[in-house]
Symmetry: C2
């Protein structure tokens, strides 16, 4: 019989596709195996267990997101770069909802130390370098940017903003403008 040529990557990709289709919680090894035309138990030669697959999806998503952000901020600076970074994340969350869900869970330590994670941090730093911020404040600002963008997308997806005027789009624009203004006039501790 022809073999399926399974690899950790093919399994994780199938799981991620499944997540985008039916939600992250719908990732089951049975469903993944079914999609790959293989018995469930066969997956265990390539991945440790279900948790490892979920972590794999997380890292895959982080890698893809880093790529998207990289192209979105390339050749841009200041407000443009900020909007590029933020829009890239929001667009990713919309196009790949299951993968985005994966990014919301606590990361495995291997993921935290991954090249993709470092890349996102570097890219964010690069965007913020356009704003003349003291080095001590850079981390705080990075965290605020991450929190705002991530939080907005989460609340939007959770339906917290739905059924209320004005529409979400206007808020998104306004918030990015506000962040830009804030970073230009970042309040350093009056010491």
């Amino acid at each position: 019989m022809a073999r399926a040529r399974l690899t950790p990557k093919s399994i994780i990709t199938a799981a991620a596709d499944l997540a985008d289709l039916s939600g992250f919680d719908a990732i089951s090894l049975s469903a993944v195996a079914r999609q790959l035309g293989v018995q469930t138990a066969s997956l265990y030669s390539h991945v440790r267990d279900r948790a490892a697959v979920l972590d794999g999806v997380h890292e895959l998503a982080l890698d893809e997101l880093a790529e998207q952000i990289a192209t979105a901020v390339a050749g841009r600076a200041g407000h443009e770069a900020l909007v590029g970074l933020a829009d890239a994340q929001r667009a990713y969350a919309r196009r790949w909802p299951g993968r985005w869900e994966a990014l919301q869970r606590p990361a495995a330590s291997s993921t935290v130390q991954s090249e993709a994670a470092a890349r996102v941090v570097t890219l964010t730093f690069a965007v913020l370098r356009g704003y003349a911020l003291p080095d001590d404040e850079l981390v705080h600002v990075t965290r605020m940017l991450g929190a705002s963008v991530n939080g907005f997308i989460t609340l939007e997806r959770a339906g917290n903003f739905a059924h209320r005027e004005p529409d979400t789009e206007a808020s998104w624009q306004r918030i990015l403008t506000a962040l830009d203004a804030l970073f230009r006039a970042w309040p350093t501790p009056s010491e």
Copy 2:
């Protein structure tokens, strides 16, 4: 045999406690039934299915959170009220991690229309009334505040801020200060 006097509420509370102990995903009707000294199938006389229990935990958490926020902002205004609101959420997330996780999932429509949800919105508006904002901007500002606070807590809990100086606490303080400054000088569309 003595009966357990099950109610939807007792089931949901047991599920919430389980979530705080072992994580939201660990909520299983089997475990809930075990904790209540009852057979799993017995729960079905009081709740429709597992999804209904998860939604119940969400609404329970929202209710408790509204209560916490209410006492945190009572008698405060401006920066103090802002910090109270934000700290209340962060403290809730720390003390009740499973319930907090429940709040991160898409809300059932009944939850969206619940009294607790309205209460949180009202309280947030009240806090922001201290900042002289145009009515049109109030919703945008509310969304930004929610996104920032929520996003920060999520990223903190996911470990995105760990293993990096300076510590999370300093960032939290600085971000709240920045939000306060931002709301005082909110950039309205220059029209």
